[in-house]
Point group: C2
DNA sequence: TTATTATAGTTACATATGAAACTTATTTCA
DNA sequence: TGAAATAAGTTTCATATGTAACTATAATAA
């Protein structure tokens, strides 16, 4: 190959790095919205939010819904239970399976954090017009499908 | 708010989570292209690729170019030096500053991995048409700017 | 039955990561 | 000059994460 430049990766244009750069910034800022103030980790917040929408589910189902692996879910639930935000019992029909629910305190904290988090998303998306929002949704769907295959 | 559903986060539609889900899949698959075969970590690969394009630079400059923090850069360089892929000296003008370069072995390995990695990106992007590629670039740029602000 | 396999969840271990402290070298400026 | 401040890199420490092993329960099937 005569021109070496053509076979060199340009990191600034490489999709995986552009994506992970963007994702890292967003994840960090998002976590800041609740981590210090409420002493909640990102995994814990994800599980908390999911339990608000889907009460009475098991740890395994929580993992499916949140795309987290079971160890991360287990740890998040332990943290949330220790802080008194989640109540865990084991199902009487199948004593392996947990049944999870927010406590009053968990719901309270969820309702304090949720507006901060959705406001952050709104602010991010506020620079896009309607067409761009549609394009973004479409591109993320397509790329995710392709990445999974 | 009368209807509780409206104030609940829907994780599957939440941009930060969609982005991090996509990014995680891609990062894992990307790393698999070189981690086992060549015993190189993602950070090491990033530094290696950057040094191929920008020889003779310092660790600090490497950090700027790759958006990695200096600890990660330091560790990646140590790993690459230990494996004989990178050569490090300290500048004679400023003896704090390192001067980094790929070794012959480093260049060889770079040239083996680079086509695997760009082929992976090509495959990801192959489902998008020209318009969509332009949209993707545009959206990533806009969102990254907004996320940084 | 009861032996085998599968599932839910936890724990242990090894590695990765980030923040802060540290070391050495350079620059600034009183 | 020579403190004080700054910069480059490294190390330390505490925490996060993922894989694999483990425990307990349930389902399957011989």
């Amino acid at each position: 190959m005569a021109d070496g430049k053509n076979d060199k990766l340009v990191l600034e244009r490489f999709l995986p790095y552009r994506l992970s750069y963007l994702t890292n910034i967003i994840s960090r800022k998002l976590a800041r919205l609740y981590s210090e103030q409420f002493d909640i980790t990102p995994h814990e917040w994800k599980v908390l939010a999911n339990l608000s929408r889907h009460p009475n589910i098991s740890a395994a189902k929580t993992g499916e819904k949140t795309a987290m692996d079971k160890v991360a879910v287990s740890r998040a639930i332990k943290g949330l239970c220790d802080k008194g935000l989640v109540h865990k019992v084991f199902s009487s029909e199948d004593r392996r399976r947990s049944v999870l629910n927010l406590t009053k305190k968990g719901r309270d904290i969820y309702h304090q954090i949720e507006p901060l988090v959705t406001a952050y998303e709104d602010r991010l998306l506020s620079i896009l017009d309607k067409d761009e929002l549609v394009q973004l949704d479409h591109l993320l769907t397509k790329l995710t499908d392709q990445a999974k295959s």
